[in-house]
């Protein structure tokens, strides 16, 4: 195809794509805000912020401005709001009897289901925190995949240019620049990933039983320096006792029994042996037994503050 024909066609195609993107921008902005609101966890917060943000969206002039506004709200506001509203989400799930749900949250209040084969015994157990392991979330992997996808063709293109096999045109150069800029986004993505990552905590009891707790908030959530250190490190695994930063982290476990008997377990990391106490389980009804067979819900929240370091209540 000669240049006389290809140039107008490319311009026409780009114009059509741009016009289409502009037209769907308001719809896309609404979807982004709805998805962002639904990630807040608590039903009350979801309804409130969805309505509030969609109301603000209507006040924004322009179509693309609406989309930029929605993306910025989703990126900037959602994480903090999730951390604030997540405790309510866990409470709502417990009240609704949703014991099977294994939530992935990075807030202060998390919920898991006890793995099958594990039972809470009455009395007293001693547990050691054996290991912490990072566990990148699926969304982070998806973001990295999206960022890495354009890098491969850009690398191939750069190689072909350097070898003189193809001659670069202005359009290809712009594509190259755009992809390179996108590629640079991997750095903040990585930082975000480690700032908001969760860890897998391996516990081992004195009698040899092991328990893994998934999706525990990372101590790097409030530290750029530690997030960077973890990002550039090779082994995404830390020994609890060897990491002084982890000694500042306190986990508080609320063990919610079938009759809503709660026991809280504060567990300062990095100090070796932890103790787990809980109350005797009450007699269960038939429905409760079925719930019990599915597993008991465990809830906990993580905090670096001193005011939650109460070992027994």
């Amino acid at each position: 195809m000669n240049e006389m024909l290809s140039q107008p066609l490319i311009g026409l195609a780009l114009g059509l794509i741009l016009a289409e993107c502009t037209e769907i921008a308001p719809w896309l902005a609404r979807r982004v805000l709805q998805i962002a609101a639904r990630r807040l966890g608590s039903q009350e917060a979801v309804e409130r912020y969805e309505e509030e943000w969609l109301g603000l969206l209507d006040e924004r002039p322009g179509k693309l401005m609406k989309l930029f506004f929605a993306i910025w709200v989703a990126l900037r506001a959602t994480w903090t709001l999730r951390a604030i509203h997540q405790p309510h989400a866990a409470e709502e799930a417990i009240q609704a009897g949703d014991n099977r749900k294994s939530r992935t949250t990075r807030g202060r209040h998390l919920e898991i289901t006890v793995p099958s084969g594990y039972t809470l015994v009455t009395g007293h157990s001693r547990w050691n925190i054996e290991e912490l392991r990072t566990e990148p979330s699926r969304s982070h992997l998806l973001i990295i995949l999206c960022v890495l996808t354009p890098i491969l063709p850009v690398g191939v293109y750069a190689l072909l240019i350097m070898e003189g096999l193809v001659s670069g045109g202005p359009l290809l150069d712009w594509v190259f620049v755009a992809a390179a800029v996108l590629g640079l986004a991997i750095f903040p993505t990585g930082m975000s990933m480690f700032r908001n990552r969760t860890v897998e905590v391996s516990l081992v009891s004195d009698d040899g039983r092991r328990l893994k707790l998934h999706h525990v908030s990372s101590p790097a959530a409030h530290s750029n320096r530690e997030a960077f250190a973890l990002m550039v490190g090779f082994a995404p695994k830390v020994q609890a006792a060897e990491n002084p930063a982890l000694s500042e982290l306190t986990l508080k476990f609320d063990i919610v029994d079938d009759a809503d008997v709660r026991t809280e377990w504060s567990s300062p990391f990095g100090q070796g042996t932890q103790e787990l106490h809980h109350l005797p389980r009450p007699a269960l009804g038939a429905g409760d037994r079925r719930a019990s067979q599915r597993g008991l819900p465990l809830c906990w929240h993580a905090s670096g503050q001193d005011d939650v370091r109460d070992d027994e209540r």
Binding site: Y49, V73, A77
Partner: protein, 119 residues
């Protein structure tokens, strides 16, 4: 003064916006008064509300046809007192309350018009 959350520059801007305006504001108005993006303002509003410094409610009057209702935020008495103390401590002075002026209609591309007039 000790606060239950981290006081950032944007937090101070938001607190000043409430002190200056002295009335209930919706999220967009807060962002505009604080000259910050709306996405940055919402986490702060949530933190302030969680700490009991802010109270919020949906607008009482029926909004215009087709417009979703807004949620208004207002400083609680405790929040107003704490906000004054924090702003005074960090910025050295309290902002002067502004009278609410009705917005005049402005021409689009106002800066361009001014530039043309100046030219």
């Amino acid at each position: 003064m000790k606060s239950p959350f981290r006081i950032t520059s944007t937090t101070l801007d938001v607190l000043e916006a409430f002190l200056v305006r002295g009335e209930e504001l919706h999220g967009f108005a807060v962002a505009k008064a604080a000259s910050k993006p709306t996405g940055s303002v919402y986490p702060i509003l949530a933190r302030l509300e969680q700490a009991g410094w802010l109270d919020s409610h949906w607008e009482n009057d029926h909004p215009e046809e087709g417009r979703p209702r807004r949620r208004f935020y207002v400083l609680t008495p405790h929040g107003a007192e704490a906000a004054r103390a924090i702003v005074l401590e960090r910025r050295g002075e309290l902002p002067a309350p502004q009278a609410i002026r009705p917005q005049r209609p402005r021409p689009a591309f106002g800066s361009l018009a001014r530039w043309v007039v100046a030219w």
